[in-house]
Point group: C2
Chain length 202, copies 2
DNA sequence: TTTGAATATGAATATTGTTCATATTTTCTC
DNA sequence: GAGAAAATATGAACAATATTCATATTCAAA
């Protein structure tokens, strides 16, 4: 259950077992309370009470409250990347990759509705974080599209943003209505993929 | 310049000239400071200092800080609706409506980059506000699609979310790179519309 | 076992959103 | 225009917050 702790600015990695335990508890509590009550309605003392630590302990591992947020965002980012890679690894055509990728993304959105809070909310907390997230995602996506030979249209950068938009907003719809995996599959197979292959409008 | 003030819960409409002036100054300052520093980095006393009022004055017109936020969100919502309606009013086909609607939305996103902060940020501030915004937008969109006869595919609700996703994410791209109106037109004409008519993938 | 480094603690601080009693201005009535 | 009532303005005061820090405890390596 205890994954490798990520390192970056604003985060101080513990050097002992005790420290690791405390930091993991703080992270788990932060994630749970942010999901339940939101970032701003969750106070540091709430997090610490829930994790069973003193307030000062929090500040040993995180320089500011925003830094836990960044940490969780990075976690979700990696989780999404890993899941997508895993789910499309056996697909030969771009068509198959998109079908599996979109299904995977939407199902993830339903199972972890907090990703939108974290990723879209970053726009209000640290704009650069948000810009970096999507420009880097779009740039990988665009490169991948260019390498496959079954993509119409040359402006793969715009296509990448369109496809990201489709996934993200269908994820929203699925989240709002708590769609099941079967409903997601059905929607993607009967509506989304035909739209990507044949268009939407006459 | 001074538009009609909107009425709803959490907002107290002033009844004198003096009150209107003060409220308008508070709104303008809120919008400016939220855009520059974000909702949470802007304090009530910042807003009041900038507007030239005392802190107590703020609370005559807005019950909480979140209520100014709601007010601004409602403003943007109406602005977007009005602009879209105005821009597609002469279009006969759904194809033409989409072309003009998408162009209009993207240009608006570039000119008012704060809309994303306000609308997407609402997810972290008042989840219901966010859900209501998109479900109501999607439901009107879906109804409009059903009434036109040049839309492939029967699940107009999913199509509505896809189209909203496309507009919103292309708006993001345009905002990130500060695209000009001409660049937006070019992108929509040569990439987006062909994609909507003929699809993206082989 | 000893020692220095790592960690834990919670009271103290500065800043925040919000309230309220008091003072001023506007509007209405005569 | 005078006076009264309603609307508005004010900023000090309050509770809650994020963050700091001096002190106490625990860990790991020799």
């Amino acid at each position: 259950m205890s994954k490798k702790l990520l390192e970056f600015k604003g985060i101080n990695i513990p050097k002992t077992k005790l420290g690791q335990t405390k930091m993991e508890k703080l992270l788990a509590s932060s994630e749970e309370l942010f999901a339940k009550n939101g970032f701003y309605a969750t106070s540091i003392s709430d997090i610490c009470k829930h994790a069973g630590t003193a307030v000062g302990t929090f500040y040993i591992y995180f320089e500011t409250k925003t830094d836990v947020y960044k940490y969780l965002m990075e976690t979700y980012k990696r989780e999404i990347k890993d899941r997508l890679a895993e789910n499309i690894k056996d697909c030969k055509t771009r068509y198959d990759k998109e079908r599996e990728g979109i299904k995977c993304f939407i199902k993830y959105a339903v199972s972890e509705p907090n990703v939108y809070n974290i990723i879209w909310g970053s726009l209000s907390i640290d704009r650069q974080l948000f810009v970096d997230y999507y420009t880097s995602f779009a740039s990988s996506y665009s490169r991948a599209l260019r390498e496959d030979d079954d993509v119409f249209l040359s402006d793969t950068d715009s296509i990448a943003y369109m496809l990201m938009g489709i996934s993200n907003f269908l994820g929203l719809k699925a989240m709002f209505t708590s769609m099941t995996d079967e409903q997601v599959d059905e929607m993607v197979d009967t509506t989304v993929m035909p739209a990507l292959k044949c268009g939407i409008l006459k």
